[in-house]
Amino acid sequence: MPRIRIDGIDFEAPEGWTILDAAKFLGIEIPTFCYHEGLSAWGGCRLCVVEIGEGKNTKLVTACTYPVEEGLVVRTATKRVIRARKVLIELLLASCPTSKKIQDLAAKYGVERTRFKPDWEDCVYCGLCVRICEEQMMAKAIGFVNRGGKLKITTPFDKTSEICRRCGGCIYICPACQLRCEGPEPPSVVCGRCYNALQPTCIDYYEDYQCYMGLKGECGTCIREEPRKKGG
């Protein structure tokens, strides 16, 4: 069984597990969006990125698809990861501000504004509908069409499907359709009314979950006040 170190915790993970599986088992929270337990991992939203490796050669990979391997070192909430998550959430907000799921993510991860022009789209191409149709319902009535900026999810030739059994699985699982947020008021695209929680702790300066509330505090990710000065 591969031995990994995740946020300073040494763990022997069963073969075939992903970093996300290991994190969930240990109670470490990693945000996800296009991931669903009952469906195959897609790795498209990139929200679950974590930093792996040590020293100068670290990189960000998606926890939902990266398999555990012997000697893997993972840190789930470094500065680099937190910045990436915030910008990705800004992109999601700009895509589809009417999705409550996205608004909740924004509130939870401290995204108070998006600097990008909102598109007010109905779809974020997470692919959950495609996967539930293929893997759970064994129908394959819908799929990805075109590519890049013209990407769409639809039926062949945009025609009414002969194989769709009207099960409603796609509507059920869609994060944009699930719960619509009516909150955002232009020009702000951020709502933040339903959910307010503390931001996650950045562990770049706080090794292994021990918080050094001492003289350092230079990071500023979770504390916003001036650090107490030495001697008073």
């Binding site: 498209g44 680099r80 992109l91 600097r115 191409y125």
Partner: protein, 609 residues
Amino acid sequence: MNRIESSKELEALVSKLRAESKDRFISISSGTCGRARGSTKVVEAFKEAAKGKIDIKVTGCHGFCQAEPNVIIFPEGIFYQHLKPEDAKEIVEKTVLKGEIIDRLLYKDEVTGERYVYQKDIPFYKKQMRILLGDNPFIDPTRIEDYLARGGYLSLAKALKMSPEEIIETIKASGLRGRGGAGFPTGRKWELARKQKSDIKYIICNADEGDPGAYMDRSLLEGNPHSVIEGMIIGAYAIGANEGWIYVRNEYPLAVEHVTIAIEQAREAGLLGENILGSGFSFDIKIARGAGAFVCGEETALMLSIEGKRGTPRQRPPYPVEKGLFGKPTVINNVETWANVPKIIDKGAEWFSKIGTKTSKGTKIFALVGKVRNTGLIEVPMGITLREIIFDIGGGIPGGKKFKAVQTGGPSGGCIPSELLDLPVDYESLTQAGSIMGSGGMIVMDESTCMVDVAKYFLTFLQDESCGKCLPCRKGIQKMLEIITDITEGKGKEEDLETLEELANVVKDTSLCGLGQTAPNPVLSTLRYFRDEYLAHIRDKKCPAGVCKALIKYTIDPDKCTGCSACKKVCPQEAIVGEAKQPHSIIQDKCIKCGMCYDVCKYDAVVIT
């Protein structure tokens, strides 16, 4: 061509063909670009004029695209350029039969005015080291005999007598790194693949050369397909694969044609198929065609494309050497990488490792294009400086303009400014400068190129080519493009640069595949070296290079205008007014800045400000 049953037979055949090959012949460069310049008619004219007098060889690119249609007369090596069909007769009668040189057809250096008779003396060729491309003028790609007469497939015979491990050690010792752009050590890749236990293994030749501005692989496949095939057979033997694929992009029909012919001829000769040269090793190659998707140059997307699916890359691990095509261990290498293999086996790892720098061995083929005098394909040793390439080989910038930047690595690369012209060309230096080696595209830009427009161009390209799977690439590129477009239209704000940089860095960090991860490079490198230009667009609402339409104006200088009305006739918007022989003027409200008037004016009277 009869089936060659053993390496002894091969050696005998090669000796025979060498002895029979004629020293005297006219080699006509006729790759796709030569044909775009009319070489087909020139070939016809030569075939007619040379009948019974001298042999004609229709070959692939000679590399000096600027000079095409061109011929080289062997054995002397006389180089004639810019040929028209009418010149054929004269060349045969004067040069071939009488030994007279026709001055007007010689290459002339634009700056010094000097004319050069022999190919080897021409400045464009002088500093090159044409290990791979040098064979092109001697080989008709539709005749395997030509390749054999140059010693072709002897490396294969030598390799089949070595053990696979010995071959891998040789490639490792040579220091060969992947020429597709990432520069992964080839020997190590082969070693990893060899170690995999599997009944089936594959090798693939990545000929999906999608970088705009790069056509090295096209030239190799069109002009010398057997060099690639030979490399692949050796590689397959080394890792234990019996099936191979060459994935050629759809936009290269001539390359597909020549590779198809080459494979058939190699099969006939028994160099592909069962029991090659009596060694017991069997291997064959299939051709897969791309269908217009840049992202299919990425290895996982390429393999999905061969499997008949959408080319959406997947995460690695598992790497292709562990689980690749159809789930089996696969070695993918670029065309140029494969072409290097027979040379290394022939001349040895030490010979190869003596060329280049400490970390980047061997030569690299570059496509030198853009605002430079001598455009074409060049092959140079690693470590040569950009200055030598652009000025010594390329002949500098034409039209009295100043060098501004050179773009390397295609849409994954960056722009390198004049301060860094003395940078040695190797994998590490280019990466440190904010660009990458890439597949070999090298586009020279002068003061009339707007760097913000260049960044916008690449983002537009990548947005079209992105597979769309992951958020940062699909949306991130779109948003970067929106911000840059605003800047080019004079709607940019100062905070935009910070936003652009942060977004670019996140796209780089979080994208799933190489396309997204390197997409921000053009933006980041232009922001790094040409920030002033961005600020001019934002603060002054000006485009210093005179490119961004919303920020420029076309006007007619009344002192230079002769009133010839050439501009008035071509203006699609009827925006030019003026009486005959009187200075004309442009109605700004109607002008759409199409530039047609600027093109036709012979008096430089149309001014862009």
